[in-house]
């Protein structure tokens, strides 16, 4: 217990140091890459928040701090673009829906949150895996039906679906899906 809390104090100090030495650099680096100061400021902030929220016993890689920060920031950037394109696609699709059927704003927010989780998993899957997964989960096709529609055998379909669940377990257990 004692050692855990002193380790986490130590960790906070290292993060403070990282912040004071590299926050300015990171924000500048992101601004260069994104060409957008507001996004750069948000993502730089998020990068440090991410460090703070990680498991306290995870070692901080302070040997190459900038490479370390850049790796995290890059991941966040890709995620930001993915999320924006998802939101845009959802709003575009809603615009096609008759007004009386459109869900309330609250409901839309809930749906977007669920969509975002699913989309993070889909983002790392090849196209065919995505297709099989959506057919199974959203349209309720059986594995046999997917196999015949995609012209595959059932074992391949199971492999595709299992890959999707594998990625979701890994991502969810890293806490990546609730952020």
């Amino acid at each position: 217990m004692q050692s855990t809390s002193s380790a986490s104090v130590h960790r906070h100090q290292s993060i403070d140091q990282l912040y004071s030495h590299h926050h300015g650099w990171l924000q500048g680096w992101l601004r260069n890459r994104l060409g957008n100061a507001a996004d750069a400021a948000d993502l730089a902030q998020d990068t440090f928040v991410r460090l703070l929220c990680r498991a306290p016993d995870e070692p901080l890689n302070v040997a190459t701090p900038r490479a370390y920060l850049a790796t995290i920031a890059n991941r966040l950037t890709i995620n930001l673009y993915r999320r924006r394109s998802l939101e845009q696609a959802y709003l575009d699709a809603l615009a096609q829906t008759p007004e009386e059927l459109a869900p309330s704003l609250e409901h839309q927010a809930l749906v977007l949150e669920a969509l975002d989780e699913i989309d993070q998993v889909l983002a790392v899957l090849p196209a065919k895996h995505r297709q099989a997964f959506l057919m199974a989960q959203l349209e309720g096709y059986t594995q046999e039906e997917i196999a015949s529609r995609m012209n595959l055998n059932v074992r391949s379909v199971q492999r595709y679906l299992a890959r999707a669940f594998e990625e979701c377990i890994v991502l969810a257990s890293q806490g990546a899906l609730h952020e």
């Binding site: 890459r33 994104l34 929220c53 498991a55 306290p56 190459t64 490479a67 850049a70 790796t71 890059n74 950037t77 890709i78 673009y81 993915r82 924006r84 394109s85 998802l86 939101e87 696609a89 959802y90 699709a93 809603l94 096609q96 829906t97 749906v111 669920a114 969509l115 989780e117 699913i118 989309d119 998993v121 983002a123 090849p126 065919k128 895996h129 997964f133 959506l134 199974a136 989960q137 959203l138 349209e139 309720g140 059986t142 594995q143 059932v154 199971q158 492999r159 679906l161 299992a162 890959r163 999707a164 669940f165 594998e166 979701c168 377990i169 890994v170 969810a172 257990s173 890293q174 806490g175």
Partner: protein
Amino acid sequence: MSETPIDRRIAREAAGWFVRLQNSSACAAEHAAGAEWRAQHADHERAWQLAERFSARTQQIAGGAGRAALERPRSLDRRRALKTLALLIVAAPLGLAAHRSLPWREWQADERTATGEQRALHLPDGAQIRLNTGSAVDIAYDDSVRRVRLIAGEMLVEVPREPAMRPFIVDTAEAEITLLGSRFLLRQYPHTTYLAALEGAVQVRPRLSRGDEGLMRLATGQQTHVNSQAAEPAVKLAQNRLDWLSGVLRAEKMRLDDFITELGRYRPGLLRCDPAVAGLLISGAFQLRDIDQILRALSQTLPVSVHYRTAYWVTVTARVQA
């Protein structure tokens, strides 16, 4: 507090069970075996729960706008991210039109090996990939480029010379690797890529390097480790890197914890080494065919005992003196 990440191997096993048991033709015995697997370890159950939760979450998105959003074309966000971050350099020109008629030129496959499994893949251009245990690759050939993404594990790649001269590129989490010669070994570690040139040269571009400054070339007989920022200086190839190809694990004064970690790659479940014996040194050549045989031999040659909590949870500890 946040829980620890689940090992990818456990996630894969859980996903396999989950999907097989979703099929209505799964019999009672399969369900029983699945339940037993879940009960074997807390992480098995956790992994299962996460899959169930995710499955339930997706089923809420019934059709409509949500579905359309998930099915949007992905090339756009990817292109946007690529353009901004220059993560991948895709500069290869389109192939000659004549080659389009050849049916094998566009080709896609996803291959993986289970824990303990090794497999050879034969690609349509005559290239061969040997996958070691617990490995996964996505293969995508098109007119202009042959691309293989190493997602997990380890592989030996043998690339024949091709008249069409399409580049052969391997993507890992950290680097884009262009194979210029004919025989290479790659392994994906948690935050680095290991790369060895066995025959011919290879060019490495760490993902986060800008322009040409991070580019590095390995010559025959050299190896390196690459993170997303830079490659370590090349050193001479360690010959024991090739041992797995003949089904052997060779140790020379290897620390026991490193040895156990290496063995654990080939055996399903958890294989742990008690820190009290981690520093013991071990030497010898071991057949990877039968890991339990190696574990038995271990307790005969070192002052250790091997405890089977379950078949999937094994710990090597100090032997208690009688």
